[in-house]
């Protein structure tokens, strides 16, 4: 008897798979989607570890010689033989006694003795690092990991902020319409009429530097696209029969807006959220590159790229390669995951 009941329950729970469960099932069937999900999850685990200090906690330590090349290239060739200029000087110059005219001459000996008393222990610096070092000799790998933490953190939170603003205003404008809709359209038009990068500069100039500022700037300047899409969806859904039916049973405006309609447009919001994560990571890179991004004692992919341009002139390519490769990997994986998510969540495909 119990087995029958259990079987019944199991069957019914399987049949009542909600939209999220079926969407997850569709996602697991998507090979590209799953691979990109694995990459993104890997990055997230990595930045979590970095955030709590398990990974790349000592990224500021100068562990290698300045501009240490990557290990697989080998140490930089040492200057062989004697310095050509030194040899010229040594050959022809006669020692000149300056003690008559140098007032400090009597003190040289004393200083030399005092200096001998102080022990200087210069830590041994590695000739090479796994993927090279920057101009201060900091490990590039640790820097990339720490930079990923900040860049992704900024990207995700700025996207959440922008999506929140865009969804709220879009829902209000699309659902209420009329004067409220007109007013919000006006706000939208003002925001979009200012060139995006100028708007970001304006915010940056007012708010100063720091991670939270970057998040605020990007969120406040980047909500317009989401607003537009959510508004359109709400306008479409507002007149749907299920919303009419909710009105007929006496559901309030708020309930219709957020309990009835929002879950039905959530796929749009989610996809926009993930698209904006990618967009904002790139935007943070530009901001930091231009010196409007994170503080100098922090590192992000943007500041690394900014440093890399000077190094590249000297032929030190490793910082640039490490940053672009990790950024490209994350951004591509995230974009592919977004595509897979959209396919899995789109109710039209059901």
């Amino acid at each position: 008897m119990t087995t029958v009941v259990e079987a019944y329950q199991a069957a019914s729970s399987e049949r009542s798979a909600g939209v999220w469960v079926t969407a997850w099932r569709r996602l697991t069937n998507d090979k590209v989607g799953m691979a990109s999900l694995a990459v993104v999850a890997g990055f997230l685990v990595m930045i979590l570890a970095a955030a709590v200090g398990l990974l790349a906690g000592d990224w500021q330590k100068e562990v290698g010689v300045p501009d240490a090349p990557p290990s697989f290239i080998g140490p930089r060739a040492q200057a062989t033989g004697t310095d050509p200029i030194a040899s010229v000087i040594a050959k022809d110059a006669k020692p000149v006694d300056l003690s008559d005219i140098d007032p400090l001459a009597p003190k040289y000996k004393e200083w030399a003795e005092r200096a001998a008393k102080i022990q200087i222990t210069d830590p041994p610096r590695a000739e090479t690092l796994p993927f090279g070092g920057d101009r201060l000799g900091r490990d590039i790998v640790a820097k990339v990991i720490k930079g990923a933490e900040i860049s992704i953190f900024v990207g995700v939170f700025a996207a959440v902020l922008a999506t929140l603003i865009g969804t709220m205003l879009g829902a209000l404008s699309g659902y209420a319409g009329g004067r409220i809709g007109d007013f919000l359209e006006w706000v939208y038009n003002v925001f979009t009429s200012i060139p995006g990068i100028l708007l970001i500069f304006a915010f940056a100039a007012v708010l100063g530097r720091g991670i939270s500022t970057v998040i605020l700037i990007l969120g406040l300047a980047g909500w317009t696209g989401i607003y537009r899409l959510v508004r359109a969806e709400y306008m479409k859904h507002r007149t749907r029969e299920y919303v009419r039916a909710a009105e007929a049973i006496g559901a309030s405006h708020l309930s219709r807006m957020f309990i009835h309609i929002l879950p039905n447009v959530s796929h749009v919001v989610l996809v926009q959220l993930s698209l904006h994560v990618v967009f904002f990571i790139k935007a943070e890179v530009i901001l930091s590159f231009l010196g409007l991004g994170v503080r100098v004692d922090q590192v992000s992919w943007g500041t690394m790229l900014s440093e890399a341009q000077a190094e590249l002139v000297l032929g030190h390519w490793w910082q640039l390669v490490a940053t672009t490769v990790s950024m490209a990997l994350f951004v591509t994986a995230f974009s592919l995951l977004t595509d897979a998510l959209r396919d899995a969540l789109d109710p039209k495909l059901r």
């Binding site: 009542s16 069937n29 299920y242 039916a245 007929a248 049973i249 006496g250 039905n264």
Partner: protein
Amino acid sequence: MTNLVSVRDLKVSFRLGKHRIAEAVRGVSFDLPENATVALVGESGSGKSVSAMSIVRLLPENAIVGPESRVEFGGRNLLAEPIDSLRTIRGKDISVVFQEPMSSLNPVFTVGWQIAEVLQLHMGLSRKQVGDRVVELLTEVGIPEPKSRVDAYPHELSGGQQQRVMIAMAIACEPKLLIADEPTTALDVTVQRQILELIKRLQDRHRMSVLFISHDLGLVGEIADHVVVMRDGVVREKGRVAEIFEAPKDAYTKALLLCRPRLDVKPKRLPVIDDFMQGKPESQIVVTEPRIARAAAAAPLIEAKGLRKEYRLKTGLFARKTVEAVKDASFTLYPGRTLGVVGESGSGKTTVGMLLMRLVEATAGQVLYQGKDLLTLSDTEMMAYRRKIQIIFQNPYASLNPRFTVGQILTEPMKIHGIGDNDADRFERAAALSRRVGLAADSVYKYPHEFSGGQRQRIAIARCLTMKPDVVICDESVSALDVSVQATVLNLLLDLQDEFGMTYIFISHDLAVVKYMADDMLVMSEGAIVERGESDAIYADPQHEYTRKLLSAIPRGYAPRAQRAA
């Protein structure tokens, strides 16, 4: 009589996902004789459209046609032809008219251009000849002022005219076979009649064959020579129209014929297909006892006076145009009775229902609910009355929130109106109600997409019942359902009316259904009520010209040849 097309052992399945395959058509064979009309009849999902579209291979990408299937046309197997040679047949020898004329015509080209395209593709005519032929075709399908209509865009034409243009395109190259896939389902009854007559006339004149796909046996009986009845991808019965209608052999055919409400009798219950399929004797299924309407009580429940709804359209910078959706509608609703509202699309019948519930705000007028004017109440005062008037919408696929479980859908109105003691009690009531409307016990845990159309409509009915309403507005509530499902839902509505003593406002374009359900009736045309009274009296002796036109357009079903000629 020789056969134009022979379909032999047609099997079509659809690939759904990686490992799932759904069989749509399972070994269907039928013949299309020359110069005859063959009707493919069946409910949704019966495979009738798929079978017809297989003839010209207009199937979705994921369709798999069985290797043994054959469609013979002029000594060739169309299923084995390369797609290039099939293109010369499509539109020239075999052409298709679809259900939705608005979405079948390209909105950015003029109708003349679209007809000309077909002619240029297949006939190789000169520009001048094409132009003349287009006008000739538009004249033939009965478009008024064809010379000026050549340059009209689809949206400038009415639905019936659009379908005429589709037919003009289809017959442009004098096809041997015209496939008409539910060509009149999206149209009003009076327009439907005109289109049917047009197809009939064209068939006679051009001596072509017509494959007519429909779910409506009444319609088919009027125009077809042969009938093929399909269900679940197999042919249940086929034969000459007289054989099918006078002596149906298959239980399913019998059921289809009997479960449609008829205009001449009004039995207590409608026969249901399941009873036929279980092989019960006909005498047990068909109830002959007539349904007796509840006597009108002295006090009306709702009295609507001078209801008016205007929409203001902006036609220019300062110009405004007022469109009256409902003009001065007054009517009375008596408790326990059913008020039928009939009219064609755009007649304002749905708006009347919306005005009563204040889902649309009226421009003028009063709705007196037991003497209290609902239209002047504030939102909070209205809440108490909200639950007393409820509505069941037309499309059960759109009226249920797809992200809610049935349990959530049913408990939400109870939460809003404070019915039930706590969540557990409300859930218990929801489960009981879903059983009452005939759903399985575990339905409350499921999502709407797991149910069929008829079951979803039952959920919508149960949602209304949670609030114990006095008045239920059924806005085309059974129009989107199959004939067999329609009967079960109508029976359920009647049972519930008896059980809870509810009053119905039954809005529909389907005059047979309204005739069956309604005690009193309103006939609406262009926003105005043109006739009102007891429904039996109106059907027996219509006074207004529009009502007469409407009633004469209802498909009468099969009538023996002799009678037809008369």
